[in-house]
Subunit: 159 residues, 2 copies
């Protein structure tokens, strides 16, 4: 019942890109370092994000990732579902054939509605909104101010 790391990392990656100058190209290494994502894992995640049209990948010597759209045009649900597929909370929802008559099954209905509600919530939030005050905000993460307690603590993480 938890978000996967891959989805977490994807959020952080897009968030970091959203905080850069519009159209800025950022290397994988930089993002990996700043957002605390295993570099090779980030490579995979980026590929998925690129397929979904969220970012553009530039190969070659001065390669890296660029945000493909304005942060306001990317919502949280899209990034999450790019990584984990369409959200569904139990099998009954995704395989209605298991129910003889899903539309009449009360249990089914509850989960279906909960899922829709969750998806709607995430869809409402875009990355422009998130850039304001996130734990990855420019004022918080960069090189390292004076390391008050924890060194690489980002939000949407915790450990």
């Amino acid at each position: 019942m938890r978000l996967t790391r891959a989805a977490e990392y994807a959020i952080r990656c897009v968030l970091y890109l959203s905080q850069q100058a519009r159209g800025a190209l950022v290397s994988r290494q930089e993002i990996a370092r700043q957002a605390d994502i295993p570099p090779h894992f980030l490579a995979k995640i980026a590929q998925d994000l690129a397929k979904a049209g969220v970012i553009e990948i530039r190969q070659g010597v001065r390669g890296g990732f660029v945000l493909n759209r304005h942060p306001a045009a990317i919502n949280l649900l899209e990034v999450v579902e790019t990584m984990i597929g369409e959200i569904y909370l139990n099998d009954c929802v995704v395989r209605p054939l298991g129910c003889k008559d899903s539309s009449n099954c009360a249990v089914h209905q509850v989960w279906l509605q909960a899922r829709d509600q969750l998806r709607a919530s995430l869809r409402q939030v875009n990355f422009e909104q998130l850039t304001g005050t996130s734990c990855l905000s420019p004022s918080v993460v960069p090189p390292a101010p004076e390391a008050p307690e924890m060194t690489t603590s980002n939000c949407s993480e915790g450990q």
Copy 2:
């Protein structure tokens, strides 16, 4: 991001008991058979449900499980969280220490709200409401009418 089988089974178990006469004692074997739950797995699940005060377990020759409260007094959230612990959708929510200032982190807030919404939805539903028309309803599951297509198809399952 999915409900575990254990939680699914717990829902089916409580649902089945809710559909019996008030205070009826049902053997583990019967529940396992009717609700299509691996018998030994059901034993563990029942223990958790008993600890949570949802059911009572009677040992010995004519042993089995009894619903401890009226179905209207048991909500879906309680059964689910008995099995999987308190719902949280990402680590940031449960470990706010990972954020330097969680209350200001926009990402954190979104997930927190989504979680609360989900929990509220599940809390609103009790098992009296669910007994009406579920795929485990008495008219659907019992011995086996004439087996139209699928033999053991319950709701809140699918495969």
